[in-house]
Each structure stands twice: as C-alpha cells, then as structure tokens.
C-alpha cells in the first residue's frame, strides 16, 4: 500500500503528461535542479542512517580480545560472524525475542481490534459528539512514551493506584507488576498510547466510504452491524494494512516502556527485550561489537517482518 501509491504521481496520469515532457529537455525541472532539492535530505540520510548502519555492520565483524590472562591492552581482531553467533546463542537475547513475539501476539489484536471497534462505533449513524470523542481518544498520543509508562507504573503500584484499590474492595488482589502480569501490563500501556491514533486513521478512512452504498444497504434491510462488517470493513482494508505495517515496525522498537517499568519492578530485567539487550551490551557490559551485531539483527528482523506484511497485504488486495 505504501509502495505503489507514490510511484504513480497523479500528474503523470493527467492529460498534461506530454506537456510535462517538454520542460524535461529545458532547464529548471531536470536532474541538476532535482539534485539541489534532494541533496540536503540525502546528506542527512547518509549521515544519520546509512553511515551508522554500515559502521555497525563493520564493527559487528570484530571483537576486542585480551591476551592470555586478560592483562594488557585489548586488541581488535576480525572474528567473522562470531558476534552474531554469540548474540543468537545468548539465552537472554533469544528470551527477549520470545517475549517480544508474545507481546506482538497480545498487543496487535488488542490494539488493532480496539481501534477498529471504536472507529466503527464512531462512524455509526447514531454516534453523537464525534469531534469531542475524536479529540479525547487522541489525547494519549500527545503524552510521550516515558510519561505514559510513568503514569501506568503508578497506576499499577499498590497504595497509589486507584485501580488496585478498587479491585481490592471487590475482593480481587492482583499484582500488575509480578512475573505473570507484567507482559499484559506493558501491552496495556502500548494499547493506551496507540489505539486513539489508529482510531483517527480508521475513522478518516470510514468517512471516505461512499454514503450511497451504505444507504443502498440500508434500503435492502442491512442493519448497522451488518453494514459495518460486510460493507465498511472490506472498503477500509487498505488503511488497515498500513496500520498493521506500522504497528509491526513499532513493536520492534519496544524499549521506552519496559525500561521505565524496570525501575519499578524486578520482573523486568535489564535485557527484557532485544533493544534493551543491545543497550545493556553497550553500556553495562561494554561490548560494543556485540551491541552492534544485536542492532543489525533487530534491523534485519524489522526488514523481514515489514516485507512479509506488505507482501501479505498486497496479496489480500488482489
């Protein structure tokens, strides 16, 4: 969905196409001008994305090796894929990937399902005060991830939390921060942060559904729920697949929320998810080469996943 749209700019399909070809030969719209406009972006892109990744790849093939008993200066030696092997064999890194997978399995259906349900409710003919609801539901997106994690960390802490005390008066004692509950608790923070944003995306897509089609369905006797499932849902599939793509990329970034929560509970270790593992490797274990290898592995996972999602959603469309 992301890829095909921009490769066909509307101007190319307009009847002005042949006229546009003319200035190509003249000055002003050709390669040299384009270079002028594109150089700033691609310079920054090279500095902030390409160069770091290339350098990380180079680093990942080396290791600091100390001679004999570990005394004396460390030497840098080429070790090939050794770092990658060590990272992949590390129990904590693999455990982190497993946790991240579990997190995805919980988070994606909850968040996307919740956003879809809310957007459909908002689009229902009987919904009132749509503008206010949109603003309120978007509110969490204006709260930075750090602050969101902090707020929820307090809302999970017995003694401060209204949720825990309400549950206790109902006779339920639940520790949101223990080993079993910590994953759902962190999923909840992410759901809170991202559902509203995606509600707005889906709601905007729903507003573009032609009203005549819905009216026709109504005349044929389809109720609101029926129209939502068999007419609206298929028509907003492209928007849904974009959301899926960005959500999948987003889940791999998981770092802020568990880092903040890790200070409030021992259930979140310093290597809880792959990003935290890489951070820990760089700053606590001081093994920059392994940190580089771990970062490259995370980027590769993102590449494979987003390829799979785009592949899957373009097949769905066809």
């Amino acid at each position: 969905m992301v890829t095909p749209a921009p490769t066909k700019p509307p101007t190319a399909t307009k009847p002005t196409g042949p006229a546009q070809r003319k200035p190509r030969a003249m000055s002003g719209t050709g390669g040299r001008t384009a270079a002028l406009f594109l150089t700033p972006f691609f310079t920054i892109f090279a500095l902030a994305m390409v160069a770091p990744v290339v350098y990380a790849i180079v680093l990942s093939f080396f290791a600091q090796q100390k001679s004999g008993l570990g005394f004396g200066e460390a030497k840098t030696a080429f070790v090939g894929l050794e770092n990658y092997l060590q990272v992949m064999q590390s129990e904590s890194f693999v455990g982190g990937i497993g946790r991240l997978a579990l997190y995805c399995l919980l988070y994606i259906p909850c968040m996307v399902g919740g956003a879809l349900a809310f957007a459909l409710l908002l689009d229902a003919a009987v919904a009132r005060a749509r503008k206010l609801f949109q603003l309120l539901v978007f509110l969490p997106h204006a709260v930075p991830g750090v602050i969101a994690a902090l707020i929820w960390a307090y809302l999970y802490t017995p003694g401060v939390s209204p949720i825990v005390s309400v549950l206790e008066t109902g006779g339920i004692s639940l520790n949101f921060l223990d080993n079993q509950m910590i994953l759902p608790s962190i999923v909840n923070i992410a759901v809170w942060e991202w559902t509203g944003y995606n509600v707005i995306v889906l709601f905007t897509a729903l507003q573009a559904v032609p009203r005549e089609i819905l009216e026709a369905a109504r005349v044929d006797g389809a109720g609101e729920i029926r129209a939502a499932i068999s007419i609206k849902l298929p028509l907003i599939l492209p928007a849904l697949s974009v959301i899926m793509l960005f959500t999948v990329i987003g889940t791999l970034q998981l770092f802020t929320e568990p880092s903040i929560i890790s200070k409030a509970t021992a259930s979140v270790t310093s290597t809880w998810v792959p990003n935290m593992w890489a951070y820990d490797a760089a700053f606590n274990r001081h093994n920059l080469n392994q940190a580089a290898a771990a970062s490259i592995i995370i980027a590769l996972m993102a590449a494979v996943l987003s390829w799979a999602v785009t592949r899957f959603s373009s097949r769905n469309k066809a």
């Binding site: 992301v2 890829t3 749209a5 921009p6 490769t7 509307p10 101007t11 307009k14 002005t16 006229a19 719209t29 050709g30 001008t33 406009f37 594109l38 972006f41 691609f42 500095l47 902030a48 994305m49 770091p52 350098y55 809310f118 908002l122 229902a124 003919a125 009987v126 919904a127 539901v137 969490p140 204006a142 709260v143 930075p144 750090v146 602050i147 969101a148 902090l150 707020i151 960390a153 003694g159 401060v160 905007t204 897509a205 109504r218 044929d220 959301i243 990329i249 987003g250 970034q253 802020t256 903040i260 200070k263 990003n275 700053f283 580089a292 970062s295 980027a299 993102a302 590449a303 987003s306």
Partner: protein, 303 residues
C-alpha cells in the same frame, strides 16, 4: 455476487421494511444508548490516566499514599510545582527548553528538508527517481531504535556524543516526511502554476519558495508537527547520546528523577508534577492544530 446479497437480504426486507428503515435512521433508544455508552467507556479509558496525573500532582507524598486517588488532598499543587522548578537550581526548566529547542529545530529545519525533497520527487523528472524514492521508503521502514546504537557508535568515533550535535543531526532525518511531502505536493501544487512561473522567467528555486512552499504550507505544518512530537517523545536517542544533565530533554530528565524516587519517595510528587508540566505544551499544540494532524493522518495512510 448479487444473488447472494439478495438472498441474504430477503429474510429482513419483507418483514416491516418501514420500521427497519426508521430504526436505522433515527436509531432506537437501545442502539443510540449502546453506541454512545461504549464510546464514553472507551474515552474514559483514554482520559482517566491523564486525569489521575492531574489529581496526583495536587498531593504531597503522604496524601499520595493516603487519600483516594481522585480526591484532592491538602492542596499541594503549588508546592509541588515550586519543588519541581527549584530542584537542582532550576534544571527542569532547562530540560523543557532543551526539549523545545531539539523538537522545534527538527520540526522547522527537518520539515523543510523533507518538503524540498518531496517536492522534487513530485515535480522534477530525473534519472533514477524510482530507485531514490525506494531508498526513502526503506528509511521509513527501518525502526528508529535499531539505528540509535549504531548512531552512538559512529558519533563516538567523531567525538560528538554528549554534545547537542548528537541530537540535532539525527532529528533532521525524516523519511516519512518526504513521503508525505510528495503526496502534498501532488495534491496542492498544480503543474500549470509552476509552468506559468517558468515562462515568466522564475527559476526553480524562486518558484519553490514563492509558489510551491506557500501552497504546501498546510502540508509543511503537518510534517513539522509530527516531527515535533516525534522528537519531543524520543527517549532512547538522548538517553544513549547525552550524559551532561544540562543537555538532557525533559523525557530523560524525568526518568532520572523516577530513578531517584525509588529509594527517596519524596521525589515521587516531583516526578508526577514534572510529568504533568511536561505534557502541557504538546496537549496545547494538539488542541490548537487539530485540523493539521487530522489531515496528516489521512494523507499518510489512506492515500
């Protein structure tokens, strides 16, 4: 296809078609009530944590642990604010100013760089356009956090870690902004206008700044707003790059206070009140610029 819809619709339509239609248009009390009740429930989930933050910021340490969550304790709000502002010689305001500076720099300059690139992709013809745009899209798909450590490793080679450049250079890079700008350029800037300017003798740079950019202004504001939020919310980049307390953005600063508050509970009200103060600028920006972020979400995902 049509037969199946008809046969599926049949059980409904003959029975009371009029009643059904009226029901759909006005909504029976039941469905109006259910839909709006569910919407209110959903909004409560979204809003209540922020409301809690507000109530909690009015309490001192003892009340925080002692009174009901949504009740006002001894009014300690001003005390808390003063404590936040006075801690470590007013470092909180410094953090806020840093956040504001990093985010505004990324939004205004980074936004302009993205808009220029997107405009070039839309309006100019050049060799390798599709491959270059492909590179931009790959940039969109790489998760930020995966490049933070590599950036740190490279920055330490050049000795710019723990300086503002370690933040200012990365925040200019916004591939998604380029993608959005291309969509906006195609939608807002007619090729005919630029052609007319060219005939009148305006060069491409002149016509960008006097025609293209003003026409794309809503798009520029949208891209800048999203970049602003992205930089303001960024946690891992400054956490990794900066050690000097005077350079930290507010997100990392508050997380340091949170670390202090574990052994020293008297820091807790400051963490809470600081959090509240730090989200006010973004809340205001979002409320005032509603029309822009809505259009940005549309352009980015639906088209």
């Amino acid at each position: 296809m049509s037969t199946s819809t008809m046969s599926r619709a049949r059980p409904h339509s003959p029975a009371l078609p009029q009643g059904r239609r009226r029901h759909a248009r006005n909504g029976g009390f039941g469905s109006t009530f259910t839909v709006n009740a569910l919407l209110i429930l959903g909004c409560a989930y979204m809003v209540l944590p922020v409301v809690w933050l507000f109530f909690a910021s009015t309490k001192n340490t003892a009340d925080l642990y002692g009174t009901a969550a949504y009740a006002l304790g001894e009014p300690a709000f001003l005390e808390n604010v003063m404590a936040v502002l006075n801690q470590d010689g007013g470092v909180f305001l410094r953090w806020m100013a840093n956040s504001m500076f990093y985010a505004a720099f990324g939004a205004i300059l980074g936004g302009l760089i993205s808009v220029m690139a997107g405009y070039a992709f839309d309006k100019f013809q050049f060799r390798g356009k599709d491959s270059f745009f492909g590179i931009v899209l790959v940039g969109v798909l790489i998760p930020n956090t995966a490049t933070v450590l590599p950036m740190y490793l490279l920055a330490s080679v050049f000795g710019i870690t723990n300086t503002i450049w370690a933040i200012l250079i990365p925040v200019l890079c916004n591939p998604f902004g380029v993608y959005l700008a291309r969509v906006y350029s195609a939608a807002y800037v007619p090729a005919e206008t630029l052609e007319a300017a060219r005939v009148d003798g305006a060069g491409p740079i002149r016509s960008f700044f006097s025609l293209g950019l003003p026409m794309m202004m809503p798009g520029y504001i949208t891209i800048a707003l999203f970049q602003f939020v992205g930089v303001w919310n960024n946690f891992m980049l400054p956490l990794v790059m900066l050690q000097d307390q005077q350079l930290l953005p507010v997100s990392v600063g508050i997380s340091i206070w949170q670390g202090y508050s574990i052994p020293q509970p008297e820091f807790t009200p400051m963490v809470i009140t600081g959090s509240l103060l730090s989200i006010i600028p973004l809340l205001l920006a979002f409320i005032m610029l509603q029309r822009f972020w809505k259009s940005g979400l549309t352009a980015g995902s639906v088209k």
